[in-house]
């Protein structure tokens, strides 16, 4: 008896799972069919987003399974409304195929999207490079030529020229140190951060040790290796590069959204008081749970609470309209074929409502990350007014007249 009921149970479970899979496959087919036949008949520009709603739902079903996929797709349909473009640069970042970029990965509630790593490269400004007017008869394979290339923003070539100076045996040690550091700056500017670190490592001794470590830290920082950047900064002797060092340290915490720690670091230096005064406690936040519950009770209210009034109104109208149709057909049951309509609109209402509840949760999450991003942007605006680029005047001699290199290829 036990065995038989177990068999029946197992078989029905297998059947259910097979049916579920079949549903998922046929759902994908349905979407494919819609994309091939019906969608082109609606004219261009039906959807605000890329990937388009049908593509998006298909991808969601494929990556998350049928039921979660369909709910995520329903949320997308509710967000694809006339007000969607108002949220560009807030909830939707970037444009692809002339539409709002909105990949499935940004809408998985249990798998938060990675924050985009903002590449921030700090390197010597080209206009600060020691480039004076070329004089007739100057040796061509020389430091001034490298500086000239750097000033002209030809960083890849400048790096090669600085290395040439560095490798020339008769170069004076002081000039060599400067050339090494500038090779690092050139690699930083041309986006070759690993090579920049190698170049800076060559200067990590004597007088230039602090500047070399600072370069190393900036190379890690540019690659979002904030932990490594901080450990390089920690090795700089106390008192050296005071404000630059503290600012970069704080900035690396900001990039990791550790705002309180960053504020503590900024407080160490009086020059960074404005950054220390930014109170991370004032960051406004929305509760994901509350937003979800609100939308479960009144469709769209969670979206409105999370700063998306347009989505909220559209969600409310859609759920209300499908719900009313469902109610109407259920109440006028006795008429012919109403069963089909009742169940169709019942399913539609349930799906849109589920999508609306799910979307309210994501909306609160995105609201919070938007607030964090804005806080970071405000802090970075202040940081950019502080000169964090290195100052090599102590290494290269005077700023306007660089140490005359003595290279082996002089004529």
């Amino acid at each position: 008896m036990m065995r038989r009921s177990f068999c029946v149970l197992a078989m029905s479970a297998a059947l259910a799972s097979a049916g579920y899979d079949a549903l998922a496959v046929s759902g994908s087919w349905l979407i494919d069919g819609y994309k091939a036949v019906l969608s082109p008949l609606q004219g261009r520009r039906m959807c605000n987003f890329w990937p388009t709603c049908s593509r998006f739902t298909r991808e969601a079903i494929q990556s998350q399974g049928l039921l979660p996929g369909v709910v995520i797709g329903a949320d997308r349909l509710l967000r694809c409304n006339p007000w969607a473009w108002n949220l560009l640069d807030q909830h939707y970042r970037g444009i692809s195929q002339d539409r709002l970029n909105d990949p499935v990965g940004n809408h998985i509630a249990w798998d938060p999207p990675g924050e985009p790593a903002g590449l921030t490269v700090l390197a010597l400004q080209p206009e600060d490079a020691v480039a004076d007017r070329p004089a007739p008869g100057r040796s061509a394979a020389s430091l001034p030529f490298a500086d000239h290339l750097y000033a002209n923003q030809d960083f890849a070539r400048a790096a090669t020229e600085y290395l040439r100076v560095y490798l020339t045996p008769s170069t004076l040690p002081r000039t060599r140190d400067y050339a090494t550091l500038m090779a690092g700056e050139s690699f930083l500017r041309s986006g070759e951060f690993g090579r920049a670190r190698l170049a800076f490592a060559q200067a990590d001794r004597g007088q230039t040790a602090g500047l070399a470590l600072y370069g190393n830290a900036r190379a890690w920082f540019a690659e979002a290796g904030y932990e490594n950047a901080r450990s390089a900064l920690d090795k700089i002797k106390n008192g050296e590069l005071a404000t630059r060092r503290t600012a970069l340290q704080g900035w690396s915490y900001l990039k990791e959204y550790r705002f309180r720690r960053a504020a503590d670091v900024f407080a160490e230096d009086d020059a960074l008081a404005r950054l220390a005064d930014m109170d991370p406690g004032k960051l406004s936040a929305r509760s994901r749970a509350l937003s979800t519950v609100m939308s479960a009770v009144i469709p769209g209210s969670g979206q409105a609470y999370s700063g998306r009034v347009g989505d909220g109104i559209y969600s409310f109208l859609t759920v209300a309209a499908t719900g009313l149709a469902f109610y109407w057909f259920a109440a006028n049951h006795e008429k012919d074929s109403s069963y089909v309509k009742t169940s169709l609109f019942g399913v539609l209402t349930a799906l849109f409502h589920a999508g609306n509840v799910y979307g309210a949760n994501i909306a609160a999450r995105d609201y919070n990350s938007l607030q964090r991003r804005r806080y970071l942007e405000r802090a970075e605006d202040i940081l950019r007014t502080i000169s964090l680029e290195p100052d090599y005047s102590s290494v290269s001699g005077s700023r306007t007249a660089p140490a005359t290199p003595t290279t082996g290829v002089q004529d």
Partner: protein, 300 residues
């Protein structure tokens, strides 16, 4: 390497080294060496070296830097302005920045008095017009350039069959799908007729049996959507039909005679350097039309 550096002792030898690097196809390195020569300010003809620098940068795919170098060459020595200007326009055109290429050519036209050179510029401008499918402007340009046979061929493109987008839209407003069929998209037109017709029939039947809720839903959600879609598609397809006609006509014209300007002929003659394949549009895309290809609009 040391040998090379020793060789580079004088400006002439350095230029020689750069020329050899260029001839060997090492365009990026050649560009470095030309810059070295210019930086030392020992070259006899700096403008010529700058032209070579521009050419090598262009061949190394550093278009913006190449454009800067060539412009500067033209500013420093107006004698090479034509060579530099045509090369700049060519680099920009190869980079599909046709509007900037056009501006460059118009600028060049102001300062050019030689009639043969003016003709060359006019022909290049007409070619850009042709890329924009501006047939009348292109024909006028070829006439100015003295290429009457080409102008006549381009003029003929105007008599190709056309479809009026407005007429197509009106047709689809009356009978959904008919405008699409008129614009040459029979299958889509028939499908549109079927789907929109079904939605209309559904609305009618529901209304007839006093099921007004169903009628309203079918009408607003299905009928309006496909009816409007048909009108939009009819307009789009007619425009696409006209564009295709012109593109095909231009392709046929290009088969009988190469219309693409030889942007780099004069600079290569002047500098004595060979023009690498990467610089010539016809060599870069052998047998391929450089006409703008409209990317299909993805559907929902």
């Amino acid at each position: 390497m040391t040998l090379f550096l020793l060789l580079a002792a004088s400006a002439a030898a350095q230029t020689e080294l750069a020329d050899r690097l260029y001839a060997a196809g090492e365009y990026a390195s050649a560009a470095t060496e030309y810059q070295r020569v210019l930086f030392s300010e020992t070259a006899d003809e700096p403008a010529l070296v700058r032209l070579k620098l521009g050419l090598s940068l262009g061949a190394a795919d550093e278009t913006d830097r190449a454009v800067d170098a060539l412009r500067r060459a033209g500013e420093e020595e107006p004698g090479v302005g034509f060579e530099a200007g045509m090369a700049v326009a060519g680099l920009l055109a190869n980079d599909r920045r046709l509007e900037r290429a056009r501006l460059e050519l118009l600028d060049l036209l102001i300062f050019t008095t030689d009639s043969a050179r003016r003709g060359e510029i006019d022909a290049a401008l007409a070619w850009i017009d042709l890329q924009d499918l501006a047939v009348r402007a292109a024909a006028a340009g070829y006439t100015r350039a003295g290429l009457d046979d080409v102008a006549a061929g381009v003029e003929k493109l105007n008599s190709l069959p056309r479809r009026s987008p407005t007429a197509a839209m009106l047709m689809s407003s009356i009978v959904p799908g008919s405008g699409e069929i008129y614009a040459g998209r029979t299958l889509t037109g028939l499908l549109s007729l079927l789907v929109t017709g079904s939605a209309a029939a559904g609305t009618y039947w529901a209304a007839k049996s006093d099921d007004w809720v169903t009628a309203a839903i079918v009408f607003s959600v299905l009928f309006l959507r496909f009816y409007n879609g048909s009108r939009i598609n009819a307009t789009d397809f007619a425009e696409e039909f006209n564009r295709r006609q012109l593109q095909r006509g231009i392709a046929e014209l290009s088969d009988t005679r190469s219309l693409e300007p030889d942007w780099f002929r004069s600079i290569c003659l002047k500098t004595g350097l060979s023009c690498p394949a990467a610089l010539g549009p016809s060599l870069r895309n052998p047998g391929k039309s450089v006409l703008p290809v409209r990317t299909p609009v993805p559907h929902e």
